[in-house]
């Protein structure tokens, strides 16, 4: 098809489409939309990824605060005060408590080591850890290069 015919076709179709009036929205659309506006709960059913950024940040902060509150309050509150709630939260918080205990034990061990061996122990530990990391990274790089190396081309 030459350019004149293409142009003619474009004009033809453009004329047809430009004449189209707006389609009528379905009869119940107005009522349905107004109802949706009056029900804020329906808005919250949107996926978290579609929430506004401020909403997501607030939610994140609140969620972290709740988790931190549960962990910290676990040991602090009177056993009888929140006994009911504690019982309900116990399964969920058990894992966090284990993690917390492990962290506390490690911190305690570190404090004891520092107390007995002096502050010089810390730089020595850090240096040892850095050395181990360097050795691992070096070995990893060598092995990766060996694995990905292409056979050398030799002239025939």
């Amino acid at each position: 098809m030459n350019s004149d015919m293409e142009k003619e076709l474009e004009t033809e179709i453009s004329g047809v489409l430009q004449e189209l009036p707006n389609l009528a929205a379905p009869p119940g659309f107005l009522a349905r939309t107004m109802t949706a506006l009056e029900q804020p709960a329906s808005r919250r059913l949107r996926p978290w990824t579609q929430w506004p950024m401020s909403g997501r940040l607030v939610f994140l902060v609140l969620a972290l605060a709740v988790v931190a509150g549960v962990v910290v309050q676990w040991e602090a509150v009177e056993p009888g005060l929140l006994a009911g709630a504690s019982r309900r939260l116990a399964p969920a918080a058990a894992g966090l408590k284990c993690f917390w205990n492990a962290l506390a034990a490690l911190t305690g061990a570190l404090a004891l080591a520092v107390e007995h061996l002096g502050w010089g122990f810390m730089p020595a530990c850090l240096a040892a850890a850095a050395g181990v990391c360097a050795v691992c990274a070096g070995l990893g790089a060598i092995l990766t290069r060996l694995a990905l190396a292409r056979p050398e081309k030799r002239p025939l």
């Binding site: 033809e12 179709i13 189209l20 707006n22 349905r32 939309t33 009056e38």
Partner: protein
């Protein structure tokens, strides 16, 4: 909190335009209705700015286009959306839409009926052709803008629009007059 009454009037004024925009892109009434509702829910959140803004219609149209394109790319396989798989060729084309005999048209077929036929023909186009065609002819976008919006090459956009026009002419039949009025 935005007052519902003024917003209801705003919604009444623009609902057909928003629904038409979505409907011509997604070609499905239920999906177009959902998209239109989402457009107005977003407009409600910004109604303070939009209420007296003469560009509110443009804002609504832009959001409707974006949501429709998001919907198409999210819920339909992208590979088929812009591939030629939808292009069934002459053998697979839908049957040509029957217009009334030329002599009867001017007397019996109203403009509304003609529009309905064109809308139907438009809906029968594969999305890969319909979407660029609608963006070009109805939304007034340039080829380059369409290519950027759809994430395809400029050549692909031009080819798709050309094929869409040719298919539309085939569907509307040889009675499509040169002044762009079908059925004369």
């Amino acid at each position: 909190m935005t007052d519902a009454k003024p917003f209801e009037a705003f919604l009444k004024n623009h609902q057909n335009m928003v629904f038409s925009t979505a409907m011509r892109l997604v070609a499905n009434t239920a999906e177009a209705e959902d998209i239109s509702q989402e457009v107005f829910l977003r407009a409600f959140e910004r109604f303070g700015e939009l209420a007296d803004d003469p560009r509110a219609g443009g804002w609504l149209k832009t959001v409707a286009i974006n949501l429709s394109l998001n919907h198409l790319s999210r819920y339909r396989a992208r590979w088929s959306f812009f591939s030629e798989l939808f292009h069934r060729g002459p053998a697979g084309e839908q049957a040509q839409i029957e217009f009334a005999a030329p002599d009867d048209v001017e007397e019996s077929v109203a403009a509304a009926e003609r529009s309905r036929m064109v809308e139907q023909a438009l809906r029968q186009l594969p999305p890969a052709q319909r979407v660029p065609l609608v963006l070009f002819h109805l939304e007034g976008m340039k080829y380059e803008e369409i290519a950027a919006k759809l994430g395809v090459s400029l050549g692909k956009v031009k080819t798709s629009i050309f094929r869409a026009r040719a298919a539309l002419r085939r569907k509307l039949g040889p009675r499509l007059r040169h002044d762009g009025r079908p059925g004369a």
